[in-house]
């Protein structure tokens, strides 16, 4: 009885299934009105969360348009996380398919950047493993090693200067992207947090490839075969604390 009631309510709230109406006592207000109050509150809660995560996107689109776009997303995308801070992970992909913003070619990457920034801030702290034993490993042992990126890290490649658009819209400044030259070479970033400080590091394409291979769980032997600057990158990453752990 109770599971069925909860199922019907969720279907009513999220998928406009009206089976739940017959479960509700409509003597004071109609079943539809009762459900609408909860639907508004649900959508309002997620909208508030998205406004907090995407201030730059909101500024680029204007408040009203941004809200309408979020509500469209919210209607299509039920919240599947107990932690509301994890909601809207797929908003960038939604934006890519969302016709009305077609002309804002950089928008989905700005969304990815803001999501990465939010994620970096929220992610739980971890203790970094001690990497000094690596120094004593012979080359065969190193080749079979796997590394993990710090969990706060997001890798982002963009054809647009999304970092410049992002910084131009911080601290109450608003710079229109028209003032930023969009016609530049692709840019590569790691967005991550070290202690209390979140970073957006602009990195070389080759280092980006290296990090991507690590994220894709290749061992160092496989990475070395494809990346001639392998050793340089390994040292850079260790110096910058990009890794959290290693295993074989």
């Amino acid at each position: 009885m109770l599971p069925e009631l909860q199922k019907q309510f969720m279907d009513g709230l999220l998928r406009k299934d009206d089976r739940v109406y017959k479960q509700l006592d409509g003597r004071i207000r109609s079943a539809q009105q009762q459900l609408d109050i909860y639907r508004n509150s649900y959508q309002g809660g997620l909208l508030k969360a998205m406004k907090d995560i995407y201030p730059v996107t909101q500024r680029l689109l204007g408040g009203e348009f941004f809200e309408a776009m979020c509500l469209r997303y919210i209607t299509q995308t039920p919240c599947q996380s107990l932690d509301i801070n994890k909601y809207s992970e797929t908003f960038a992909e939604f934006a890519e398919q969302f016709k009305p913003v077609d002309e804002l070619i950089y928008l989905s990457d700005v969304i990815r950047l803001e999501w990465g920034w939010h994620r970096a801030y929220q992610t739980a702290d971890i203790t970094l493993e001690d990497f000094t034993p690596l120094l004593s490993f012979d080359s065969a042992k190193l080749q079979s090693l796997y590394l993990s990126l710090v969990p706060s890290m997001t890798l982002l490649a963009s054809s647009y200067p999304v970092d410049l658009i992002w910084s131009a819209n911080q601290n109450g400044q608003a710079d229109t992207p028209e003032n930023i030259n969009l016609d530049i070479k692709p840019r590569y970033f790691t967005i991550w947090r070290n202690g209390f400080d979140s970073h957006i590091d602009l990195i070389e394409p080759d280092l980006f490839e290296f990090l991507l291979s690590i994220e894709n769980k290749l061992n160092l032997g496989a990475i070395q075969n494809n990346n001639s600057n392998f050793e340089k990158h390994l040292v850079t990453c260790l110096q910058r604390s990009y890794f959290s752990a290693y295993h074989f």
Binding site: Q6, D25, R29, Q34, S81, D83
Partner: protein, 278 residues
Amino acid sequence: MIARNPISGVGIGLRAEHYEYVKREKPTTPWFEVLIDNYLGHGGQIQQHLRDFSELYPLTFHGVGMSLGSCDPLNKNYLGLLKKAINTYQPALISDHLCWTGFQNEYVHDLLPMPYTEEAAQHVADRIIQAQDYLNTQILIENVSSYMQYRTSEMSEAEFVAYVCELADCHLLLDINNIYVSAFNHQFDAKEYLALMPENRIKEMHLAGYEEQGDYLLDTHGQTIHAPVWELYHEAIKRFGARPTLIEWDNDIPEFQVLQQEANKAEQILDRAQTHAA
């Protein structure tokens, strides 16, 4: 079950907007309630704030993540994080709501009322027992504001609340504003509701402001506490005696001093009740 440190007087719900002010001015607020879900599983500055405030003030933990009324299995990951935070910070009280917040991995992040049936009471009480056993402490469950009523209900909300507390042997966080809002929305008598509450289980009360929405009241926590809620609070304190009381504010959050003024008003009501009792 572990006995927790007692608190008294009128606390304030800690919000990010007031972090800096509270750290700088160290107001005389006797305790703060933290919305613990905002800290669980998060790191960096977020955790640091919790550490800082736990050193400055007694804290209570208030959550929505247990979803005690849901038919999903209890979320062990959430409970594990909560237990760790309880062991680290030793909050004076730990509370969640008498409601469900999602089903089959879809979450509404809202407090959905239970049908007031024997089946629902047994179900939610059983989960409260499991949670209390796991956390090794008694918890408080809070009565929620509601905007819907189920046809299948077999008892009143007040009877249901009292019954579940009894079945689960848990404590009660009596939200006075929520009683008033639900009483208005569902046309029941708030004072009769109070009369049914299990006096010895009430360990805390909540006060907040609602919003008028035409023919119903919405529990927005975005305004000062309304006159009829003060009146009902007065009534509750007269009936049950002084209880730790919290001022909650979640939307359009004003300067900290506005919350302090509300806390002072509640403090006066508590003081008057104590002089009468003496």
